[in-house]
């Protein structure tokens, strides 16, 4: 079968079971857009290529399948750079396809030429410039393989216009035909190291499971829960891992890090064993590295061996897929007699000390000695911290200032518990992570590593496309919203009913918070405006329902109204209190021991 390169490319995507892609055409990619008309693949026309990339990320984060974004050469391709960098940091499987000028024109500074493979070399897992039309099916197969296996990540395929126009004889490569002699991702952990890990785990008195995004990538949420319940070891879930272990579980300590809660941060600091599963000791988690968890031994499981000993030396470093390694670890523990669940399941709002109540240990097994008695004082300590240092805010009845945390709590309580939440980056992101109750994996979509403002709207759209059965709310800031809001035009025209809550404090809030706390309240270039733009008018002009909320008394009604709309996007402009800060906080470069809690918890006053 003779096909053009363009037809072969689209057919290759079909072979990869791509059901949807996000993109925007242009000169160099024109040939590839023609066969899209005849394809089973749904193409969603974005308003800016950055939106295409973030939509593909949102799609990938909630479905686990690779997202596909397409753009033309030059500016189209460079507009995808931010999503690629974002996906690289957060290990999101993303396949970007960019047009390139004709091969004869490459290197001549042709119109809309940019060296996108050169530009994205450091922010993709790998990229390809196709120079032979016959390579197309093989390269597409390689690209999807690389993007989705090992540590997932973004890849880019650059296809010159003349290659897309020339013809080839169709084939589809067998797995053995992939030309990747240097790519052999590890999957299973070394059994000897897993045994060592089991020994450390059984000997620990103050262990903490430090669960990262790798749990979700490896689809290891069930295995993690089994591990936690069988051992009674408490779990912290990083920003990238929210939802991988239920917040309502008595063993869940919530999010650690710069804006993590006191107990999660302090549990790690005082721990004698960190069981890092698919987490990478990011600086936002560790604070000052030399002062991080000084008494802890470290078991570090990661599919990327380069993460081992990068930031923190591991006592046992296991290279492997988190799900497989945790399952191996469970078998190793079982071999040592630990075979019965220690903790009770479920139960909202419990504390770690509840976790041991009423779970009889099997007599004569290790479980009798471990870890119930041994971990009891530790769990009691954690429970005491939770009681002493909860997350707090103070919402007075209207018409006083509306607290952003109150908005998140209302949203949480008025939406189905498996609602997908997407966020931008800043205070609203931290409020969302802190105050939402994540009880299901793949319900939290955010930009953790790169911290890309403007991520929320497009990623929420991509998430809704991937999971049309679920309600999708974006929690956004007013600064973020202005960066990518035009994609709501995409959402309206494609009938993608996402809901956007803007926590509109008229400021670049997180920067404002830092200037308030660390720059003597010298506010430099952080004021936006509550009503320029007019968010409701803007939303309506983009085909959305627009709602404005100024009083806490109106929050519930507005959310109900938003939830009732399912034929178009909704934007709710919540006018929130600009003075509200995110607490707790560990100042950049400080030790996690110096965590700053909400002033009201230590006798101070709140705004």
């Amino acid at each position: 079968m003779e096909l053009t390169g363009a037809q072969a490319l689209i057919k290759s995507l079909e072979m990869q079971h791509v059901e949807v892609m996000f993109g925007l055409p242009g000169g160099a990619i024109l040939p590839v857009y023609d066969p899209i008309l005849d394809s089973s693949i749904r193409h969603i026309l974005v308003r800016h290529e950055q939106g295409a990339g973030h939509m593909a990320q949102g799609y990938a984060q909630v479905t686990g399948r690779p997202g596909v974004a397409m753009a033309t050469s030059g500016p189209g391709a460079t507009n995808v750079v931010t999503p690629l960098a974002d996906a690289y940091m957060d290990s999101t499987p993303l396949v970007a396809i960019t047009g390139q000028v004709a091969t004869a024109a490459i290197g001549t500074d042709a119109f809309q030429e940019s060296d996108i493979t050169g530009i994205t070399m450091g922010i993709t897992k790998h990229n390809w410039l196709i120079t032979d039309v016959d390579d197309i099916p093989r390269v597409v197969a390689e690209a999807f393989h690389v993007a989705t296996t090992g540590r997932p990540g973004p890849v880019l395929i650059d296809i010159p216009k003349d290659i897309a126009q020339s013809t080839m004889t169709w084939y589809w490569p067998a797995p053995a035909d992939l030309d990747l002699p240097g790519y052999r991702p590890v999957t299973e952990g070394d059994p000897a190291l897993v045994m060592e890990a089991a020994e450390l785990l059984l000997a620990a008195e103050r262990p903490v499971i430090y669960a990262g995004g790798g749990i979700l990538k490896a689809r290891a949420a069930d295995a993690l829960r089994e591990l936690a319940e069988r051992t009674g070891i408490p779990v912290v879930t990083t920003l990238m891992a929210r939802g991988c272990f239920p917040d309502s579980h008595p063993l869940c300590l919530g999010m650690p890090g710069m804006h993590g809660n006191y107990t999660a941060v302090t549990a790690m600091q005082k721990s004698d064993l960190l069981i890092a599963l698919g987490s990478r000791f990011d600086d936002r988690v560790t604070g000052k590295v030399s002062a991080f968890a000084p008494g802890a031994k470290v078991i570090h499981v990661d599919i990327d061996p380069a993460e081992h000993n990068k930031v923190r030396a591991a006592d046992v470093a296991i290279a492997g897929d988190c799900r497989l390694v945790v399952e191996e670890l469970l078998l190793a523990l079982e071999a040592r007699g630990l075979s019965h669940s220690e903790a009770t399941r479920g139960g909202r709002g419990g504390s770690p000390s509840d976790a041991v109540a009423g779970a009889p240990a099997a007599p004569g097994t290790m479980a009798e000695r471990y870890p119930r008695e041994r971990l009891a004082p530790w769990r009691a300590q954690l429970g005491a911290w939770q009681e002493r240092y909860p997350l707090v805010y103070d919402q007075q009845p209207g018409p006083g200032p509306l607290k952003p945390q109150f908005v998140i709590e209302c949203l949480r309580d008025q939406t189905p518990e498996d609602t997908i939440v997407a966020s931008g980056v800043g205070q609203h992101q931290m409020f969302a992570s802190q105050w939402w109750q994540f009880d299901h994996p793949y319900t939290w979509v955010n930009s953790g590593g790169l911290g890309t403002m403007g991520f929320a709207v497009p990623s929420a759209i991509g998430a809704k496309v991937g999971r049309p059965d679920k309600m999708v709310w974006a929690v956004d800031g007013d600064g973020c919203f202005q960066m990518t809001a035009q994609e709501l035009v995409t959402a309206s025209s494609e009938r993608i009913p996402v809901k956007i809550a803007i926590l509109n404090n008229a400021y670049l809030g997180m920067v404002r918070q830092w200037q308030e706390m660390f720059y003597e309240e010298r506010y430099s270039e952080v004021y936006l405006s509550p009503d320029l733009p007019d968010y409701v008018g803007w939303a309506e002009s983009m085909g959305c329902v627009g709602i404005r909320v100024e009083s806490p008394d109106d929050v519930a009604t507005a959310i109900d109204k938003a939830n009732s709309v399912d034929d178009r996007p909704v934007v709710v402009d919540f006018r929130t209190d600009a003075f509200e800060k995110v607490f707790p906080m560990v100042a950049a470069g400080s030790s996690n021991d110096d965590i700053i809690v909400d002033p009201s918890l230590i006798g101070g006053s709140r705004p």
Binding site: G150, G182, A306
Partner: protein, 186 residues
């Protein structure tokens, strides 16, 4: 330290890569963006046309060797990485230098080149271009001595290296324990 890395700070990595365009850029870009220092880098096709071999002398004070190897290993076109212990490998490098060699010093320069078993590869009225191949330390010594006469231009290739042979093994296999090859992972 010295600028050619013939001291304890350096480690030699020989990296087998796919012989595809852009591979050298990927390696160089990795070193640059992660802040790893390179003393020298030499690249050439290997005996198999599918692969090239890059010999990199890295500064292990800029980053732990383990990190450098693992990050390098993550590059898809990198097939294998062998770390050569300088004490158990044969290293060679080539030096070309154009040296001031007027009537009064010409004889001494030629003599020095002779002592080091180098070659005169070009002759001008007031200059000589000389070539010397050998162990990097030998090149260092030569460079120090010839500098006194005035170096106009100089080029060193950066080293290439292979593991030392086991004396007891006549089949030409590298001695065990001299090379630590990293299998791909990741």
């Amino acid at each position: 330290m010295n600028m050619y890395g013939t001291d304890q700070r350096h480690h030699i990595l020989t990296v087998l890569v796919e012989n595809k365009s852009g591979v050298l850029a990927r390696v160089a870009s990795l070193f640059s963006r992660r802040g790893y220092n390179i003393f020298s880098l030499a690249v050439a096709p290997s005996d198999n046309p599918r692969f090239s071999r890059i010999t990199i002398v890295v500064d292990v004070e800029s980053a732990p060797l383990d990190q450098i190897v693992k990050q390098l290993d993550k590059l898809i076109p990198v097939v294998s990485i062998t770390e050569l212990d300088p004490a158990h490998s044969r290293e060679r490098e080539l030096l070309l230098a154009t040296v001031e060699a007027g009537p009064e010093s010409r004889g001494q320069v030629i003599q020095l080149v002779g002592v080091f078993e180098g070659k005169i590869v070009d002759v001008g009225p007031a200059h000589l271009t000389v070539m010397l191949a050998g162990a990097p330390t030998k090149l260092d010594d030569f460079e120090d001595l010839i500098r006194g006469y005035g170096i106009v231009e100089m080029q060193r290739t950066g080293r290439v290296a292979l593991p030392m042979l086991d004396r007891a093994d006549h089949r030409g296999q590298p001695a065990t324990g001299t090379a630590d090859t990293t299998e791909k992972a990741g």
